[in-house]
C-alpha cells in the first residue's frame, strides 16, 4: 500500500571543529612579516632558473633546489587572469559564508615573473580585462596581523577604468 507510513530516516548533524596553529616557518614567515611590518611584497627567487615564487616556497619545483634568494616586488602589476564569483561559498577558516559577487585575480607584479592571486575591487564584468593594471591596498598600520589579507584587495588603477 502506498499509504504505508514512510520509513523515518534519521539525520545526524555534526560540526567538526579543530582549532589549529599554523607555524609560518622561515619562508612564509618572511613574506608575511614584510607585508605586516613594511607593506612590502617579497618573493623568493630560484638560484638556478631565476624564477620568482609567490607565495615563496622553500624549494623550486622545477630545479629541485632550495631557494634562499629574495627579491622585492612592486605592489602593483597586471591582471593575467580573473574569476568573478557569483555563488557564495564557505570560508573554512571562519565557518562563515562569503559575500557575493566578488572577483579574484591573478596579478603579475612588477619586478618578477610570478603571479599573485588576490581579490579585486571590481565586480562588474564590463570593467575587468586581462592586461589591466592594479595596485595593492594594504590595511592600515596597526590592523595588519601578518596575513595575506593584510592586503585588503587590489584596486584597478583609475586610468584603466577610464580608458
Amino acid at each position: 500500500m502506498t499509504e504505508e507510513k514512510k520509513q523515518e530516516l534519521v539525520e545526524i548533524q555534526e560540526l567538526v571543529s579543530v582549532p589549529n596553529s599554523f607555524a609560518t616557518g622561515p619562508v612564509m614567515g618572511r613574506f608575511l612579516s614584510e607585508i605586516r611590518d613594511n607593506k612590502r611584497i617579497v618573493a623568493n627567487k630560484c638560484p638556478k632558473c631565476g624564477r620568482t615564487q609567490l607565495p615563496p616556497r622553500i624549494v623550486c619545483a622545477v630545479c629541485h633546489v632550495q631557494v634562499d634568494d629574495w627579491v622585492e616586488l612592486q605592489p602593483r602589476g597586471e591582471i593575467t587572469s580573473y574569476d568573478m564569483i557569483f555563488i557564495p561559498t564557505l570560508n573554512p577558516l571562519t565557518g562563515k559564508m562569503r559575500e557575493v559577487p566578488y572577483t579574484s585575480a591573478s596579478i603579475l607584479l612588477d619586478g618578477g615573473d610570478a603571479t599573485l592571486t588576490h581579490f579585486l575591487d571590481v565586480t562588474d564584468p564590463k570593467k575587468v580585462k586581462v592586461g589591466m593594471r592594479c595596485e595593492a591596498v594594504f590595511r592600515p598600520d596597526g590592523e595588519r596581523t601578518g596575513s595575506v589579507m593584510d592586503i585588503a584587495y587590489f584596486q584597478v588603477l583609475n586610468e584603466e577604468v577610464n580608458k
Partner: protein, 150 residues
C-alpha cells in the same frame, strides 16, 4: 643579511559542518531507542551472531542481515576505562567511565558511558542497566548512560 627569525604562528581552524544519515536500517535502531526505549541487535543468519551497533550486513561473512533481535536491557561490563582528560567532544565532565558492555542476548559489545558509581568501584563482569534520557532524539545518547544493576 643577518639571520632573522621570521617564523611566527597563525591561529586557524578546521571547521566544517557535516550531516550524516543513519540509513534505513540504522534509523530503525535509533527510532526504537527513542520511541520504545528498546535496544535492538542485528542478527546475522549465517554466523548466528547478534551484533550491536546495528548493521545491515555482517562484517565477518559479508552476508546480508535482515533480522532484528531485542537485546538487553541489562548487560555485563567486559572492559572499562576512566577518562581523566578534558576534550571538548567528551559527552560528560571527566572523570567518567567509558565501558564495553555485553548486553544480554548480544554477541558483541556496545561502547557506552557508565555512571551512578564511583570509577574505582567499576569492575569487569559488573551488571549494568541503561538509564534513558528524558528528552530522546533518536541518538545513541538516548541511552543517557548505564548504571550498576543488582
Amino acid at each position: 643579511m643577518s639571520e632573522k627569525n621570521w617564523c611566527f604562528e597563525v591561529p586557524g581552524k578546521l571547521e566544517i559542518p557535516f550531516k550524516y544519515y543513519a540509513g534505513e536500517w540504522g534509523s530503525k535502531f535509533l527510532a526504537a531507542l527513542r520511541d520504545n526505549m528498546k535496544i535492538m541487535g542485528s542478527k546475522c543468519p549465517a554466523c548466528n551472531k547478534v551484533f550491536i551497533p546495528p548493521r545491515s550486513s555482517c562484517e565477518q561473512c559479508f552476508g546480508k542481515i535482515s533480522e532484528w533481535v531485542e537485546i538487553g536491557p541489562k548487560g555485563k561490563v567486559t572492559s572499562f576505562c576512566v577518562v581523566n582528560y578534558k576534550e571538548p567532544y567528551l559527552p560528560v565532565e571527566p572523570p567518567f567511565v567509558l565501558a564495553l558492555i555485553r548486553l544480554e542476548g548480544a554477541d558483541s559489545d556496545l561502547t557506552h558511558i557508565i555512571s551512578e558509581v564511583s570509577p574505582e568501584n567499576v569492575r569487569i563482569g559488573m551488571t549494568v542497566a541503561p538509564v534513558f534520557a528524558e528528552q530522546r532524539k533518536a541518538s545513541i545518547l538516548d541511552i543517557k548512560y548505564f548504571k550498576p544493576a543488582g
